[in-house]
């Protein structure tokens, strides 16, 4: 990803070569200790990960409703799902949400990182603290905060619009405007984390590039466009993929912001799974929808692994 994160692994690799001779001896001798060190992890993995994973896959092939005996129905959940307009609507809305939330969040985080790494800016320490506070705010509270800002009859934004002579904007009763507020809220809440990644990447760009460009008369925009952006490309990919994963799983913030409303127009996919599985108690059907989400998330995660080529991690 960036030279800084690569250095421990590369030094570890040389340590590994030295240690290989030792390790061959160690293989048989220390078997109990590593087993005990990892026993808790193995148990928790089995109980809360492997077991639910297998259950979910098998429920998706049954008509289980949370009680009684599940009956095997083959792939009919999946065929029903692909004909279910509500499912398509949720999935489509999730993609629309991700398509807007990811670029907006990316630009905001990058702008913050650039502003914090510019040498001439004053007051970077307090600004850094301010930028980071939204990371502490839970998704629920973030939703509440933006709902309060964009309230239709009492919100600050509509108040300003009216002061400027405009009409109150229906932030809550118009589905697209409501999604727009959700995009702003998610960019606001997620920016701090991505900003950290960008700061690490930007501070790894050699200063001499900028100095050379400055001598050649490059303006600050040109330096950003032709030095910073290409140098942080790997981090950009990472941020985009991580934010896409996050956007596909969005649930809590929207719950507090508009509850998936107006109506069910902004119901994203996780909320659809939750309502189908828990409120309508169609466990089998919801599990099938989960599997579709899983495939989407896995595709994104595999793309991430491929691009960032972090195979040396394992």
């Amino acid at each position: 990803m960036s030279p800084r994160t690569l250095s421990p692994t590369s030094s570890a690799r040389s340590a590994e070569e030295v240690g290989r001779r030792v390790r061959r001896r160690r293989f048989g001798r220390y078997r109990l200790a590593p087993f005990i060190f990892t026993l808790g992890t193995a148990v928790l993995f089995g109980l809360f990960f492997l077991w639910p994973g297998v259950l979910g896959l098998s429920y998706s092939l049954t008509d289980y409703r949370g009680w009684g005996e599940p009956e095997f129905v083959g792939l009919s959940n999946y065929t029903d799902l692909f004909g279910d307009s509500e499912f398509y609507q949720s999935l489509g809305r999730t993609f629309v949400y991700a398509a807007f939330a990811v670029p907006v969040g990316y630009c905001l985080a990058l702008a913050m990182a650039v502003a914090l790494t510019t040498q001439r800016a004053r007051g970077k320490t307090p600004a850094r603290i301010i930028f980071f506070v939204p990371w502490l705010v839970s998704p629920i509270v973030a939703g509440v905060i933006w709902r309060w800002m964009f309230g239709e009859s009492f919100g600050f934004v509509n108040y300003i619009i009216r002061l400027l002579g405009g009409d109150a904007v229906p932030w809550a009763s118009n589905a697209d405007l409501s999604l727009f507020v959700a995009v702003l809220a998610s960019a606001w809440g997620g920016a701090a984390f991505n900003m950290l990644l960008f700061i690490a990447a930007i501070s790894n760009v050699p200063r001499s590039y900028y100095e050379a460009a400055e001598l050649d008369g490059a303006g600050s925009w040109q330096r950003f466009r032709y030095i910073t952006l290409p140098s942080i490309a790997p981090t950009s990919v990472l941020v985009i993929l991580l934010s896409s994963l996050g956007a596909m799983k969005e649930f809590a913030m929207i719950q507090a912001l508009n509850g998936g409303g107006p109506g069910t127009q902004n119901r994203l996919i996780v909320q659809y799974i939750y309502e189908t599985g828990f409120e309508r108690s169609l466990v089998g059907y919801a599990s099938a929808a989960s599997m579709v989400l899983l495939v989407i998330l896995m595709v994104i995660a595999i793309v991430q692994l491929r691009i960032s080529k972090r195979k040396n991690a394992w």
């Binding site: 809360f48 629920i140 939703g143 600050f156 599985g277 899983l294």
Partner: protein
């Protein structure tokens, strides 16, 4: 800077050059500083507006014209939050969940990360792959089966049911594994020659070495668990067991939102994390955080 490039220049000339350069510097710092502070104001404003609104009396919240500062400062919203909502109970529940889960997470991830970094056998290779697979299979896709597993284990509606599934995080394991890979093997070998047991090496040498990582993971993990929504939502059905996030959600999901209580309860729910952040700021924003830190 000035003295090195013009060591023989007359003193007066040097001085004016210095002043010129300084005013030039100031002019060039205007744009970046403005950008920085415009962003800071944009980021801070929603929170500040929210915070100040929580000190307004109920009537002032909706009466036009709105004012930035409360015309009349009041704590009545906060009093209501403690009286009408069982705020202390939710706070205690959340605190129990977050702190117990965090302590267990740190120790489990440390020992697992250590074993994965410093030992090699088939069992560990399989376990490493299992932990890696967790990053691709987030909790959101196994909501229903996870609920059924927790119910069958008899932990439905108990805080234990919220704590147990959230202890193991691949991010934490990776963080420790990466750290322990950088600790030289010679250290372990020397301790072995001195007769230390494997557990003694881990507890007396490795744990103290990893203290900064432990603190970082502890803060991050506490934040995750404090702000968790989806797991408590499916596990906790009884309002007595609610965590803060679930309680806030039930306030905001009500037919008629009591904004006065909601605003102050939300502000109160953030105080512990903000305090923690201000104390341990450098551990959170340091370079220890890397790609995996999103759970």
């Amino acid at each position: 800077m000035v003295t090195t490039d013009a060591p023989t220049a007359p003193a007066k000339k040097r001085k004016t050059g210095n002043r010129l350069r300084r005013s030039h510097e100031i002019r060039r710092s205007i744009l970046p500083t403005t950008l920085l502070w415009v962003l800071a104001v944009l980021m801070a404003f929603p929170l500040l507006w929210f915070l100040l609104s929580s000190f307004k009396p109920g009537g002032e919240l909706f009466s036009y014209p709105l004012s930035f500062l409360p015309r009349e400062w009041t704590l009545s919203g906060y009093e209501d939050a403690f009286e009408r909502v069982e705020f202390m109970r939710y706070l205690t529940n959340t605190f129990v969940v977050a702190s117990v889960a965090t302590i267990l997470t740190v120790f489990l991830c440390a020992s697992t990360g250590y074993a994965l970094a410093k030992y090699k056998n088939p069992w560990l290779s399989v376990l490493g792959l299992c932990v890696l697979s967790m990053t691709m299979l987030p909790g959101e896709v196994i909501l229903n089966p996870l609920f059924i597993v927790v119910r069958d284990l008899g932990m439905y509606n108990s805080l234990l049911g919220v704590i147990m599934p959230s202890i193991l995080t691949p991010t934490g394991v990776f963080m420790f594994r990466q750290f322990f890979l950088t600790v030289p093997d010679e250290l372990i070998d020397a301790a072995r020659i001195d007769g230390a047991s494997e557990y003694g090496i881990f507890l007396r040498i490795m744990v103290p070495l990893a203290r900064p990582i432990m603190l970082t993971l502890a803060i991050v993990s506490f934040q995750w668990r404090w702000n968790d929504y989806i797991l408590p939502l499916i596990i906790l059905g009884d309002p007595d067991q609610y965590t803060l996030q679930i309680a806030l959600r039930s306030l905001v999901g009500a037919q008629n939102i009591n904004w006065s209580v909601l605003l102050s309860a939300s502000v109160l729910s953030m105080i512990p994390l903000v305090a923690l952040y201000l104390v341990f700021q450098k551990y959170v924003t340091s370079s220890n955080i890397n790609a995996g830190l999103k759970d």
